[in-house]
Amino acid sequence: MSEPGSPVIAKRSGSKAWQAYRSNPLSVAGLVIVAVIVFMAVFADYLTPFPEHVGPIGDFAAMNMGPSETYRLGTDTMGRDLFTRIIYGYQLSLIMAVVVLAIATPVGVIVGLVAGYKGGWTDYVLMRITDIFLAVPPLVLAMAIMGFLEPTLLNGMLAITAMWWPWYARLIYNVTRAEAQEGYVLAAETVGASTMHIIFREILPNCWPSILTKMTLDVGFVILMASSLSFLGLGVQPPTPDLGSMVAEGAKYMPDAWWLSVWPAIAILIIVLGFNLVGDGLREAFEAES
């Protein structure tokens, strides 16, 4: 039987969200951008004209050339193809973002969940620790960490992770505090469910929209942050291509050898833009769903 007025067809959860997502052309564009970039990054070895330009190589006969037939976007100060290096730069940026978020998100989410649900002293202590990490200027924190670790890709990622998780803790803390007021949490409590169950099985699934949205937006910001670190020489080491360092180093040649930093800057813009559009789209989609 059904109550009058009840929708008779139960739709699979999420399909409404997908519809909402699809209806916004900007979000779809974002998805396309991201897909293309991911595809290019994954198959960089096959798609780039000079894959060897990623390694320790310099073709000083061809250094600092503007865009041409052979080198679509020009070459850098080492005579390496910019297009190739940008695509590999994407590869690195993506790995970076994925690793950073894969570590920062669970840490921040768990801290936020526990502090938000437990309240009291647990809340106070955990959130003050979070505040400490928030109040130290992020780059200072990252630099300090990079300072005592070797400046490698992995350590760079760790450093960024250390400054990233508090934002998730904050976000999830707020979401959890709101969700904890919801009836379903009360219901689970009255039934006698364990704290673990309530936090992870009841509240956490409702944090996913916030987490996913923030993660997609953050992919872009991690890349930006990594590029700021590279600007200080604290990121990936040469010759590995890194979009941030490319912009930073290239900027020294502005405006004469403009291609050195303009293309990587545009490349950063595109990837960050792509993920931001996806993030915006997700946010709207999740809103439409509820």
Partner: protein
């Protein structure tokens, strides 16, 4: 004759918020008898939900005590208590986790209390859903796709899953349509009769009380104004406040309007004592 299931003895609750005190419940003594539907009515803020919270052990009382089946209720509830006293909330929209299936929600108490063998629980969930008038395949659905009445039925099924003795219903139908409300009330009535449940039924709608309750307690500003069997309250409300509540009920027939107006005016009905 009737056995008390829950006794409140001088129960009080005071909230301290931002440095000012709110007396939400002011020394309430009340007895709930087994098998009854005991309604608690009162305007917004009169302390109805506070009683529910105290009974469920969701917050400690400031003063007084409670006895369940003759035994004092501890502040930290045992699993048995958590199982024996269940809750159906006012807002069916938020009472079900939107990201878990209906089945998972109904199954939760079975898992928590280890009711039945794990393999059989699926069947049990189906049985419960059927009992509240939903087909078994609702278990797979998300609460998002359900109407208010359906959600409230799921919430009732979840409460039933514990095989409780007492169910606290905090305004279970006030967010529903009149027609849907009537059906949910019907369901509750039937379940009580079949299972011998006891209801602590919180509402502000006296018409609903008239239809479903056996006893009524009227609250105002944290105090018990009057209590008694439903017929006598309606026949002869003692306090002006109760009369006011009854007077506000919208009615559909002339005859009822007449009854209501009499009550509102405060003139004693034939049963009256004055």
């Amino acid at each position: 004759m009737s056995t008390p299931i829950l006794e409140l003895d001088n129960l009080g609750k005071t909230f301290e918020a931002d440095g000012h005190r709110v007396v939400a419940l002011d020394g309430v003594s009340l007895t709930f008898n087994r098998g009854e539907c005991h309604a608690i009515v009162g305007e917004s803020g009169s302390g109805k939900t506070t009683i529910a919270n105290l009974v469920l052990g969701l917050m400690p009382a400031t003063s007084g005590s409670m006895r369940f089946n003759g035994v004092a209720l501890p502040a930290e509830r045992t699993k048995a208590h958590r199982r024996a006293i269940q809750l159906v909330q006012q807002n069916p929209l938020s009472a079900l986790n939107p990201r878990r299936s209906v089945g998972a929600s109904v199954r939760l108490p079975l898992d928590v209390h280890g009711i039945g063998v794990s393999r059989e629980r699926g069947a049990r969930v189906a049985g419960l859903l059927e009992e509240v008038g939903l087909e078994a395949d609702y278990a797979r659905r998300s609460p998002r796709g359900l109407s208010g009445g359906q959600r409230q039925r799921v919430a009732i099924a979840r409460a039933l899953a514990c095989e409780p003795e007492l169910i606290v219903l905090d305004e279970p139908t006030s967010a529903l349509d009149v027609l849907v409300q009537a059906r949910v009330l019907q369901l509750l009535q039937r379940l009580r009769q079949e299972r011998g449940l006891t209801y602590l039924f919180i509402t502000h709608d006296l018409a609903v009380v008239r239809a479903i309750a056996t006893r009524v307690s009227v609250f105002q500003k944290g105090r018990l104004v009057e209590t008694g069997p439903v017929e006598s309250i309606f026949a002869n409300p003692q306090s002006a406040y109760t009369r006011q509540l009854i007077g506000a009920i919208p009615v559909v027939t002339e005859e009822e309007a007449k009854i209501r107006n009499v009550i509102r005016a405060g003139t004693p009905t034939p049963l009256g004592t004055e």
